[in-house]
Symmetry: C2
Subunit: 201 residues, 2 copies
DNA sequence: TTTCGCGTACCAAACGTTTGTTATGTATCT
DNA sequence: AGATACATAACAAACGTTTGGTACGCGAAA
């Protein structure tokens, strides 16, 4: 029984267990008893650190958010489009860990669709992700890697949509979307963006 | 009390109520009592027509599938890319009804992620959607609207991913993704595909 | 024509289980 | 001694499912 007396660390332990249950069972299978069992503890421990399930979930999502942002990222091998490529590959379920993380977020959408507070959280999460793509799009525009008349906001939304859409397909059909193909699809998408506009009619 | 004695019609009524509850509360909020209340009936009615909740959900999804395939579609204003455009716009949440339908399917992902049978259903559903996009991609290739060396399977997967990714963004952020912008984004995406390959380095 | 028997359709209620939450007890630290 | 950190147990509510019963429709028997 580690970290006895370390309040914050214990809360993080609990959040980690919440995350693991979510990855295994989705939001529909997230119960206090399942979390407690995963920790080898009792529900009393959970209520000792969190006043309610909602507070628990809220904190777990915050921790997950930090974890998502803090984890290792593919180094951008260049400015502009190469950076965009790296940012997209960064969210793809290329590893089991990343797949588990994506499963949680996709599962989260169900909960968010019928809970205003969670919906707001999801909205902010999406904004944050687009904000991560945006610098690369801006740089690509500046470097002339994209048509000068393109709308950066629209490009970011398109890239974000493409990425998440690919994530969902890969989650449900890993056989048809192995890592190599995911990478290839991202590369082809980047190449698509890089093409020069159709010269004439 | 209509349709007494009409077994199949009654089952369809039940499925419709299931669908409405799903649209309102998501899979997490789908309970027999909620379905019964929506119908103004008792849970006994539900179990009379379906042996279990799982069977009920299964049938509701089948009905929904037929409904999805049978509804009005935007006419393809041309072969190839215009057809692809129409097919993509067809799934976008441009109307409240379409938004409700998309909410159900996105919500469904959570349930499918932790249930093998539902996961298989979702896999088939995705295949079906890609199959709807494929003829248009093939036609576009045939008509020279796309680079001849492009892989049709990859193009279809890319378009499907883009479409669903856009759906999710629009569902959670309708203010930032009003119908006009959704249409514009689809148009720009089609235009992206239509561009000629970059002539030289 | 009436009446009986029986299957279908459905409601109301209750079943056992699981849920989130709360109360109580008991070590362990300060 | 008193606060902290839990486990244990109980709680009401909600869940899917089961049960007992009522009302109805209809072919066969009287």
């Amino acid at each position: 029984m580690p970290a006895r007396g370390d309040h914050d660390a214990r809360r993080r332990d609990v959040s980690q267990a919440v995350w693991e249950v979510l990855a295994a069972n989705g939001f529909g299978g997230l119960t206090l008893r399942a979390v407690a069992a995963r920790m080898g503890a009792s529900t009393g421990l959970l209520t000792h650190y969190f006043p309610s399930k909602k507070a628990l979930v809220r904190h777990a999502l915050e921790v997950a958010q930090e974890h998502t942002q803090g984890r290792d990222r593919l180094p951008a091998e260049g400015e502009g489009l190469p950076g965009l490529r790296a940012a997209l590959l960064d969210v793809m379920p290329l590893t089991p860990e990343s797949a588990a993380m994506n499963r949680v977020w996709v599962s989260f959408w169900d909960a968010a669709l019928s809970d205003d507070e969670l919906a707001a959280t999801e909205l902010r999460r999406y904004e944050r992700w687009r904000d991560m793509l945006r610098p690369h799009v801006d740089a690509a525009l500046r470097l002339g890697q994209l048509p000068a008349d393109a709308d950066p906001d629209d490009l970011v939304a398109t890239a974000a949509g493409f990425g998440h859409g690919l994530v969902v397909q890969a989650l449900f059909d890993p056989a048809r979307f192995p890592p190599e193909r995911q990478i290839r699809l991202v590369d082809d998408f980047i190449a698509l963006l890089a093409r020069r506009p159709h010269p004439t009619g």
